[in-house]
Amino acid sequence: MVQKLDTLEETPSQTAGPYVHIGCIPTFAGVEGVYPEDLGKRAIEDGAKGEVITITGSVFDGTGWALRDAMMESWQPDAAGKFPGQKGADPKVNGFCRFAADGETGEFTLKTVKPGKVPYREGGHQAPHIALWITARGINTGLQTRIYFEDEDNEGDPLLSRIEQQHRRDTLIAKKTGEGQYRFDIRLQGEGETVFLDL
């Protein structure tokens, strides 16, 4: 027998199931009175610096149906590219938000500030982006992806530049639909499948 490592293995994932809302956003699910309000209700507070934006979209399955039960989380820095907890970060930016697909329409909305670019190793930077984590019944391990913006300079972003096919890269880029309005649809499978991440 070789020597034994003293490291542990990560706990295996299981699907969040159809009732993820009870655990993560109980008030939204109608389980009222346990917590004063749902965690991650707002990505920003009033007075957050930067451009306030709204991102709307849906999560589509392989048949083109918009999921009604998806629950998502976002994480991002403030308008200057500082994450909450980092020195000098905007105290009005929570950075974290939880939101669900609408039970009738399957649409979700994220209201936040446009994030700044983030430093990357050796003096480089990452283009402005929001990390997104998607859970739902039928998703066995939460799916990581990112929202970039079509009206930002995405050249040289270390993640986007790893994607060879332009049309696949485009799946990570939110389309501007109006002043401060963006559209970002997620396709779990098949034509136009979103690039999902492992990082």
Binding site: T15, L39, W75, N140, E193
Partner: protein, 242 residues
């Protein structure tokens, strides 16, 4: 947030594959293209942290939190407890653990759950806790019932509690389920079976823990959780200290 460092890449072998024909909903919700793998960046290495001001005194007591202490939920009283560690065997301090579950009859308080078992007027089904200095958490709850679900002709979920765990980095985010030692339904469950290796599935099965059981009050089950760790080399540590 203070605990920066590159995350150890996920060992995807221990996690269930996205596509599993036995779990029908996964068939149209599973990406077919490979994931884009890359070393973690600041985006994944940082994450939201939650303080004790978030928590109410009954947040980790699912027996009482729905009625805010007025009346207890029906069911077999149990304590579910354990530690949150990372792959380097370091306790994860002050991280948020959320739990949700069906009531003792196997029914969720959710408009999409139409199972004929009745709702318990005193049971909401969610709770949360922050780990202490040693990464320790506990929930007082009732043993959830098994329940049928639409999949194959007659599929039943074993008794289980859903867990959502935050680390210190968004890339550590994890949702899983805890099962109960000795439940024969585990071996028939298509969701449990999405984990292909029985030894990996066993990591989700909490043993009865009589050392934490309280006489004339509750049984106890122990459920330890391991999140992704951060890569640390002696070289990098020295560089940071310079």
């Amino acid at each position: 947030m203070t605990d920066l460092g590159t995350l150890i890449p996920r060992n995807r072998e221990i996690h269930p594959p996205a596509y599993d024909v036995g779990y029908k909903t996964s068939v149209v919700r599973s990406p077919t293209q490979p994931l884009l793998s890359m070393e973690s960046t600041l985006t994944e290495e940082t994450g939201p942290m939650f303080g004790h001001s978030l928590l109410g005194p009954l947040d980790n007591n699912l027996i009482l939190n729905y009625t805010q202490g007025r009346a207890p939920a029906v069911g077999e009283r149990i304590l579910v407890h354990g530690r949150v560690l990372d792959e380097n065997n370091r306790p994860q301090k002050g991280v948020l653990v959320e739990a949700w579950q069906a009531n003792a009859g196997g029914r969720y308080r959710h408009k999409k759950d139409g199972y004929l078992a009745p709702l318990d007027p005193n049971f909401g089904g969610c709770g949360r806790a922050l780990t202490d200095e040693n990464g320790y958490y506990e929930f007082l709850t009732i043993r959830p019932g098994a329940y049928p679900w639409p999949n194959r002709g007659n599929d039943w979920r074993p008794m289980h509690i859903h867990f959502s765990i935050f680390g210190t980095g968004f890339g550590q985010r994890l949702i899983s389920q805890m099962y109960f030692e000795g439940d024969p339904l585990i071996r028939n469950c298509p969701i449990a079976a999405t984990i292909k290796n029985r030894s990996h599935l066993d990591r989700l099965v909490a043993p009865l823990d009589m050392s934490k059981s309280r006489p004339l009050d509750h049984l106890a089950y122990k459920f330890d959780i391991v999140l992704r760790g951060r890569r640390q080399t002696m070289f990098e540590n020295k560089m940071e200290g310079m």
